[in-house]
Amino acid sequence: MERIPILKMGEFLLVSIQVDMHDRLAMTLQDDLTAQIVKRRARGVLIDISSLEIVDSFIGRTLANIAAMSRILDAETVVVGMRPAVAITLVELGMSLSGVRTALDVERGMAMLRASLAAGNGGAAGGDGAATH
């Protein structure tokens, strides 16, 4: 079955969506990610959508669901790389993706995840993975 790969980097999971997703594939990603957060004890999820040419209501809802589910599982989600034309279209469609944290690119998204992890650890973590106990 077709799947979108999920990579682990330290305490984070990384996903880069490179294909035009049909709805079933988006649902599979949602299920796989929530399972992987628990299995790999991830504290953050970064989803790169810079290859996506459109985000319609279904894909938008999937991203919002992933963010909400991961939050309940104590992991932050950041969606990065949205194309400007996609952002314009999404808002006109009626989706503001409230509840989904976004960053311009992977680098800023990773910085965001590290910062929220550090804040969650009482500000003790400096940089990558200081809190491993």
Partner: protein, 134 residues
């Protein structure tokens, strides 16, 4: 209005929805649409194609490039033979859904198009036509 070119595609499955998106993209590029215009019509097509599959039990879409008064546009006509819509006004409202979605499909597709027309009756399927002008 002059009809320049036409193509009919099936809209029976989730994979067809992806095919429709790609075909609409190719046509929009060919018509010289800007990136934002392309993205809007492809997104609108994706919503309507999904509606035809999920609510209409499958159907078809006709892609047409049209010209009127020196202006070119991309016209998409989605037809399904599903249960139809009893209250179109209600179905157009954001947040109204019968399929477990967000209910942004019809209203969103309308906002992303320049022209929008819908015809439906209970038991007689649904016909939706949108045009995006260049």
């Amino acid at each position: 209005m002059a009809l320049l070119r036409t193509e009919k595609l099936p809209v029976q499955s989730q994979d067809d929805v992806v095919q429709v998106r790609q075909a609409v993209r190719a046509w929009a590029v060919e018509l010289g649409f800007s990136l934002v215009e392309q993205t809007k019509i492809v997104t609108a097509a994706s919503e309507l194609a999904r509606n035809a599959v999920v609510h209409g039990g499958g159907g078809s879409v006709e892609l047409e490039s049209v010209e009127t008064a020196g202006r070119r546009g991309l016209r998409l006509t989605f037809v399904d033979h599903g249960p139809g819509i009893a209250d179109i006004e209600q179905a157009m409202k954001d947040g109204y859904t019968t399929g477990g979605g967000l209910g942004l499909g019809l209203g969103g597709a309308k906002r992303l198009s320049n022209d929008f027309e819908i015809r439906s009756q209970p038991g007689a399927g649904t016909w939706v036509r949108i045009v995006r002008w260049k």
